[in-house]
């Protein structure tokens, strides 16, 4: 796609998203919130996997830290902003702490370590009844109003809450995109491609990995903190390792080698699940087969299949280019 076409497509997508509550049903809006949350989580995960080369199986842990912290804050102080900020900060702090330990390893040892940390958070969520409500979780979390200085915006409907989520997710994804395109993002890719060379040109490899881990954890935490006000409840399964697989699958499905891949993947994952479960309960059978096919045949994900097709120059232009080559 040419940069211009890309800008047009992005603009159209934004218009579509902003106007969604006007023309779509409440269920579609609700589903879109889930797409947005997974998209943010998966985009953060892909900074770690696609750009830095570290496969984490513990993202659900940070998602849960965000969700539980936000829920506790909202239960004590029903105001959305402190809840979401508090949840995100708590997730960032735990990601920095656990990331500092995790990035001592790479490859499978890293994956195992993140799995262990994620499951430690899960067992706290499941058993530490006094703080997390145990297996009942935290219930009755209010969809607290958004209070900005003197302004108080109540959020009684899913449609209104959607706008808050949309703004938060778009802002976070835009920041993430900025990060990926910055010299810092290039440094992360250098670490992914060759640790030794990156070290030799003077890059602080471990610190870069930690940074990537912290940003991924922050994204998961922000997505998680936006959940309790939507669902009014938080339960332990969101922290389980099988939940950590969701951003992994979204990124893989969309494509890990493009920034937009995980976003597309999140959309496909949520929508296809919603469609498939209408016909059969065996949704994960289909998903498993798709994952196997993707890993074997399309490691670039859906984006890599669609992109060349979009990027194909128009026949007229190709003819002109060929004529230009042949000229003198």
């Amino acid at each position: 796609m040419s940069p211009r076409a890309r800008r047009w497509a992005l603009g159209a997508l934004l218009v579509l998203l902003v106007s969604l509550p006007v023309w779509a049903s409440r269920y579609v809006v609700y589903l879109t919130i889930h797409i947005l949350l997974l998209a943010l989580n998966a985009a953060g995960f892909n900074l770690l996997f696609g750009y830095t080369g570290l496969l984490s199986f513990g993202q659900a842990g940070f998602y849960a830290v965000g969700a539980y912290t936000c829920a506790r804050i909202l239960l004590a102080w029903p105001s959305l902003l402190p809840g979401v900020l508090g949840g995100t900060v708590a997730a960032t702090l735990s990601a920095v702490l656990l990331g500092y330990l995790s990035v001592r390893h790479t490859r499978i040892y890293f994956s195992m370590l993140t799995l262990a940390f994620g499951m430690m958070i899960f067992s706290l969520a499941w058993k530490w009844r006094a703080v997390t409500g145990g297996d009942d979780g935290l219930v009755g979390v209010p969809r607290a109003p958004l209070e900005l200085w003197a302004l108080t915006v109540p959020l009684p409907t899913v449609e209104r809450y959607y706008v808050v989520v949309l703004v938060a997710v778009v802002a976070a994804v835009a920041l993430l995109h900025r990060l990926v395109r910055s010299p810092l993002g290039l440094a992360l890719q250098a670490v992914r491609d060759s640790e030794v060379r990156a070290e030799h040109v003077g890059l602080p490899v471990r610190r870069l990995r930690l940074l990537s881990f912290a940003v991924a954890g922050t994204c998961a935490g922000l997505a998680g903190s936006l959940l309790p006000a939507l669902e009014n409840t938080v339960t332990p399964p969101i922290a389980h390792w099988t939940a950590s697989a969701e951003p992994v699958l979204a990124a893989l499905l969309g494509g890990t080698q493009r920034f937009g891949g995980p976003l597309v993947g999140a959309f496909l994952l949520v929508v296809s699940k919603d469609v498939i479960v209408r016909f059969t309960v065996h949704w994960s059978l289909v998903l498993g087969a798709v994952v196997i096919a993707l890993v074997l045949g399309f490691r670039g994900g859906v984006v890599s299949v669609v992109e060349p097709w979009l990027a194909r120059p128009r026949p007229a232009r190709r003819a002109v280019a060929r004529a230009g080559e042949q000229a003198p």
Partner: protein
């Protein structure tokens, strides 16, 4: 004191399931370098197949167990040949993801074929009964489990240490290219190791049929336990897996007795600490 020893014996017998599943996992990792997420699903599948043959068809218990092992070993061979083999040259993350795809596929496939949870078929008559240990009745079936675990352990040791096949496997694990240069058919070694590992997982699952219910979630639950054990014992270290299984099996048996609240947390904390402090495992020589 006797309560403690008795609880230890209970832990020891449940450690045998853990040993059988982690033995296969660690052998496959040690030789192929593949961490098989679907190994727990193979354990589960072994349980379902043995249940079908023993509980539904009515074959003798031993035949059912061997039958389910053979079937799962064939499935393992198909997984290795058809799906993992094209990925060997790539980033190991892709192998992990592929096997995760199999987790999703197999866990759902058993629901499709067998439905929900079953009632437990009766223990075969020759294993029903109890022996008296520390003045309490101890199920004969648990004695049988411990015996099977020990026999498998000795058998594996003999297989890897004393046979030509075992030597070629160890050579392949140590240096794939050199082994191939010496004329060892490494692709066939890979397949046979994967089959052996799968059969061990199936054995673990199958032995559980008369005492524990088979359910669709059991694969995901077992695989994290097996990960913990293989990490504690050192990835690819068979003796470590044995020691790790005993450690985790006995500790969680006491754990449920003393601190049931945080047993799970501590087990994962041990796994994380081992990965950080001694990634080669506690029992590395």
């Amino acid at each position: 004191m006797e309560v403690l020893a008795y609880q230890g014996l209970i832990g020891l017998s449940s450690a045998m399931y853990l040993w059988l599943i982690s033995a296969g996992l660690t052998i496959i990792f040690g030789v192929l370098g593949v961490l098989n997420f679907a190994h727990g699903s193979l354990f589960m599948l072994g349980g379902y197949l043995a249940y079908t043959l023993y509980g539904l068809v009515g074959l003798p218990f031993s035949v059912s167990v061997l039958g389910s092992m053979a079937a799962v070993a064939l499935l393992g061979a198909a997984m290795e040949r058809g799906f993992l083999r094209p990925l060997y040259g790539l980033d190991p993350s892709y192998q992990l993801l592929l096997t995760f795809g199999f987790v999703l596929l197999l866990d759902d496939a058993v629901k499709l074929v067998w439905g929900g949870v079953f009632r437990i078929p009766p223990i075969p008559r020759w294993l029903d009964g109890a022996v008296v240990v520390f003045g309490r009745p101890f199920p004969l079936y648990n004695v049988f489990l411990i015996a099977v675990g020990l026999v498998v352990g000795l058998g594996l040791w003999g297989l890897f240490d004393r046979t030509w096949w075992g030597r070629s496997v160890r050579a392949t694990a140590a240096d794939r290219e050199m082994a191939a240069a010496l004329g060892i058919p490494t692709p066939r070694v890979f397949s046979s190791v994967f089959m052996l590992g799968s059969a061990l997982a199936a054995l673990g699952g199958a032995l559980g049929t008369p005492v524990r219910p088979v359910a669709p979630g059991i694969g995901a639950a077992m695989i994290v336990q097996a990960f913990i054990i293989t990490v504690i014992g050192g990835l690819g270290n068979l003796r470590g897996a044995f020691a790790g299984s005993l450690l985790v099996g006995v500790l969680s048996s006491y754990g449920t007795l003393w601190f049931p609240e945080f047993e799970l947390f501590f087990v994962f904390a041990i796994m994380a600490v081992v990965l950080l402090v001694r990634p080669q495992g506690l029992f590395a020589s």
